[in-house]
Symmetry: C2
Subunit: 254 residues, 2 copies
DNA sequence: GACAGGCGGTCGACATTGTCGACCGGTGTG
DNA sequence: CACACCGGTCGACAATGTCGACCGCCTGTC
């Protein structure tokens, strides 16, 4: 039976719709947005509600995502092997560099943050685990673009948004950048997504040399860069952490 | 069409199964665990995989939860009104008390942590957002048991585990404790779940006085308690924070 | 090295199952 | 007060998901 199960795909679409809209949605909104009969949408929503994936505001009757998703998302992190292996190395990298550390994996047309170490002894920061970053303008994303053909494929049909004046939006520019990244073995992003923020990323691969994710450090451009380029010592730290994680993932094989 | 959609319920069961077992599971394991034909389980898993809710290890062919769950779980937090309103109050409470702050809501037979503020300037701590705590042995849980009939109902059929020698496992003891909690307006838990840890919790209610969650502080029993009882000043802080959050939720109505 | 047993995955017939659109009662609004 | 819209229900219909046998592959074993 090759072919997705219709009701499941529709349920997934409903959950994504609820995740996308910031506010709660009514039954009719859901049904019309996805071209479903109201009865059909209701049946799916009712089941999702029973399972805890969706909750209904008893007052307005509108729907939003449910708590079970948070619980399962946490379970995903618990099982995630890359994340487990990388925890200690990411900590070390944050301490050594004094900057924020992110660990990301390719997910759809972006990078999903699976681990986040705050910059040591700093002001309040919000945890970004579970959020997404663009592929074409971040160090994490560009590393994956350079090494993961799937990531490069995902980029094919999406329009590239310019977040700042330094964002690369032309595909040929991106490809040239990727060639450079492959050649030197690391990626940077200087104010390409957020003004004032620069980051340096490197690839993590598994025992069979497949790309499985990326690490990066990210911080104020004044600290991360020097004379318009990222500091070589920070690059070395990031690459060394990426190698350590990759080696850790490959343990047991050799 | 009152009645859950079969394929959806089965998909949810599969995801819960994958979340429960620490390791990855094979197709046959999933099918036999849930009494499904292999073909059926495969169809569901394939669809879940397409949607990103499940991933398959290409090497072993075994399945685990997927990244989309993490993303949707994060979206749940983003939309969560209680959490949004409580963020700043929880921060204040942590600063004022010097202890860890948790914010939890009832979910199935437990308390789901939706916000967690680390104890100020302390050693490394792991974020527990998305994890569950038992109802009958934590301050958060006992608050909900005392005020939320649904929570009390959930307790009916589950055996109460004794985590320490101080855990209440008899239902009549629990009900007496709940009556006390309702009378004085707050709950505590002194080494009832973890040795050496005490916590103090209070109820959060919405504009219609329905229980919607609870806040608590949690810390070493030596700091939180005095002469075998929790410190009244900490109780006052927690109750004040709970009132502030409740008031915040009720804003716009009055 | 041939076999057996396990795996993940496919296939096609069947009827169970989810889908559809009309319909209901309640609510707020012009 | 009627209208429009909401969330929710119902029953007929056939599209849909389910089932169990089957396939090719790999692994371990005798």
């Amino acid at each position: 039976m090759p072919g997705p199960i219709q009701s499941l795909s529709r349920a997934a679409a409903i959950m994504r719709l609820l995740a996308g809209g910031e506010r709660r949605l009514g039954l009719s909104e859901v049904a019309t947005s996805l071209d479903l009969a109201k009865g059909t949408a209701h049946g799916i929503l009712r089941t999702l509600q029973m399972e805890g994936f969706v909750e209904q505001d008893p007052e307005s009757g509108k729907y939003q995502l449910g708590a079970e998703l948070l619980r399962l998302g946490q379970s995903y992190l618990d099982v995630h092997e890359l994340r487990a292996r990388a925890l200690v190395w990411a900590d070390d990298l944050a301490r050594a560099s004094g900057e924020t550390v992110y660990l990301g994996v390719l997910h759809q047309q972006g990078v999903l943050i699976v681990h986040h170490v705050f910059r040591p002894d700093d002001t309040r920061q919000v945890l970004e685990v579970g959020s997404m970053q663009p592929l074409h303008s971040t160090a994490l994303g560009k590393v994956l673009l350079a090494y993961d053909p799937v990531a490069r494929g995902e980029l094919g049909d999406t329009a590239l948004e310019a977040y700042t004046s330094r964002t690369l939006t032309d595909l040929t520019d991106i490809d040239a950048e990727c060639a450079l990244i492959r050649e030197r073995g690391w990626a940077d992003s200087i104010e390409e997504t957020w003004e004032g923020v620069a980051s340096i990323g490197a690839l993590i691969q598994d025992r069979r040399r497949n790309p499985v994710g990326a690490v990066c450090i990210s911080g104020a451009v004044e600290r991360v860069c020097e004379d318009g380029f990222v500091r070589p010592s920070l690059v070395a730290s990031v690459r060394s952490a990426a190698r350590a994680i990759s080696r850790d993932l490959g343990a047991g094989r050799f």
